[in-house]
């Protein structure tokens, strides 16, 4: 049996290799997960979450709010209000959102967009 691969007590070197590997993985998770661009778009309609979309795929979403149809566009990892039935068009003027924590609302049609990733940089927004 000499020379054959056997599972025995791990040697000091094995432990060190595993340990270093884990430290590197933990470091990468910590550094890469926190400063990335937004990954998801959460859309709320009224007081409910309407849906959450990945920003990876380009798409157009039409949704019916209290005063009409709001169009939201996802393109190239960004999202925006493309058109809205509201009189002031503030939501459309907000333009593209691309970083986590960014948000835009259309109060008249009760639609809100929020970009999400692993962790939000704050709990709530003062505006």
């Amino acid at each position: 049996m000499k020379g054959a691969l056997r599972w025995g007590k791990p040697l000091l070197g094995d432990v060190l290799v595993i340990l270093v590997g884990l430290i590197v993985v933990a470091y990468l998770i910590k550094s890469l997960w926190h400063n990335e661009q937004a990954a998801k778009l959460q859309i709320r309609l009224g007081d409910k979450i309407y849906s959450t979309y990945s920003l990876d795929q380009n798409r157009t979403i039409d949704l019916q709010g209290p005063i009409g149809i709001t169009r939201i566009v996802i393109a190239d990892g960004r999202a925006r209000f493309a058109s809205s039935p509201c009189p002031n068009q503030y939501c459309v003027h907000q333009g593209w959102l691309s970083h986590k924590g960014q948000a835009a609302f259309c109060l008249p049609n009760q639609v809100s967009l929020e970009l999400l990733s692993g962790e939000k940089p704050f709990d709530s927004l003062n505006y």
Binding site: G46, D47, C86, A104, F122, D123, N126
Partner: protein, 342 residues
Amino acid sequence: MRFLVLFFALILSACGKEPLVQTKSYVFGTLVDISIYGETEEKAHEVTSQILQSFQRLHHQYHAWQSDSELSKLNQTFAAGKQPVEISPELAQMLAQAQTLSKESQDLFNPAIGGLIGAWGFQRDEFSPVEINDLTIQKLVQANPQMSDIVIKDNTAFSTNPSVKIDLGGYAKGYALDLALAELQKQGVKNALVNIGGNIIALGQHGDKPWRVGIQHPRNPKPMATVDLLSGWAIGTSGDYQRYFEQAGKRYCHIIDPRSGYPAQSTQAVTVLISPSPQAGVLSDVASKPIFLSAPDQRANAAKAMGVDHYLVVDAEGKVTLSASMNQRVHWLAKPEKITVQ
């Protein structure tokens, strides 16, 4: 192997769901966002729903342009003459508090100018640009409606000036925050964050960290800074970017200078951070207005008169001025090139 097990156990526990229950809804014509931490989901929903019900009640009872609200009826009797009418103890207390704050602000916070706010088209659910009628505005300013014209006695009120028309748009959301905080404490909730249209009050903290709030940039759709909101503290911003209209290339915001009758033009945003007190919420709503309306060299005095130490001003050119104590509390996400510490 044991290392791997331990490692994944740690990773997985970090992914475990935090006991945070967040509810968003629409009251006061704006977004209301209530976060409760560390309670069961059932309890959090129950307390949230109670708070939202009291917000709805406040919204209807003190609505400035629905003619059947208690406030509208009072405004009608103010306009009709000097006959005292009975009002609810709550409204009497609110008006008295607003009178005190109006006096402290040297009348820059003036909820009696409902007539002007209406003339500018801001007393509508969906406002649109209005024809600016200089003569109408001049008359409304000359009529000089003041909070001190109101006489409150034994839950009755009358006005010595028929032009007084109360609009609590710059007060009621703050009052609602104080009410929410009292309700949360009464229900035994230890940690919560309540946001009514951007005005926020904190109770306890979010797990082992304080509640953290973002301060919106007045011209970009992203936060410019964050502030840790400690238990009992409140934060509020007056900005020209939420309710406004543009006409002939000029921006007319909803913050109207009671002295001139015209919307303020020299400021983009004022944020105030208010230390714990039974009226922290009200102050977070009210105290930013006098600073917003003051000339640049008078802002520090206006803040002091309202008892506010922590304030941040973004002026019409986008330049940032903040008090020394605010400077210590702000964490910039997008630091402006030049900031002035006052």
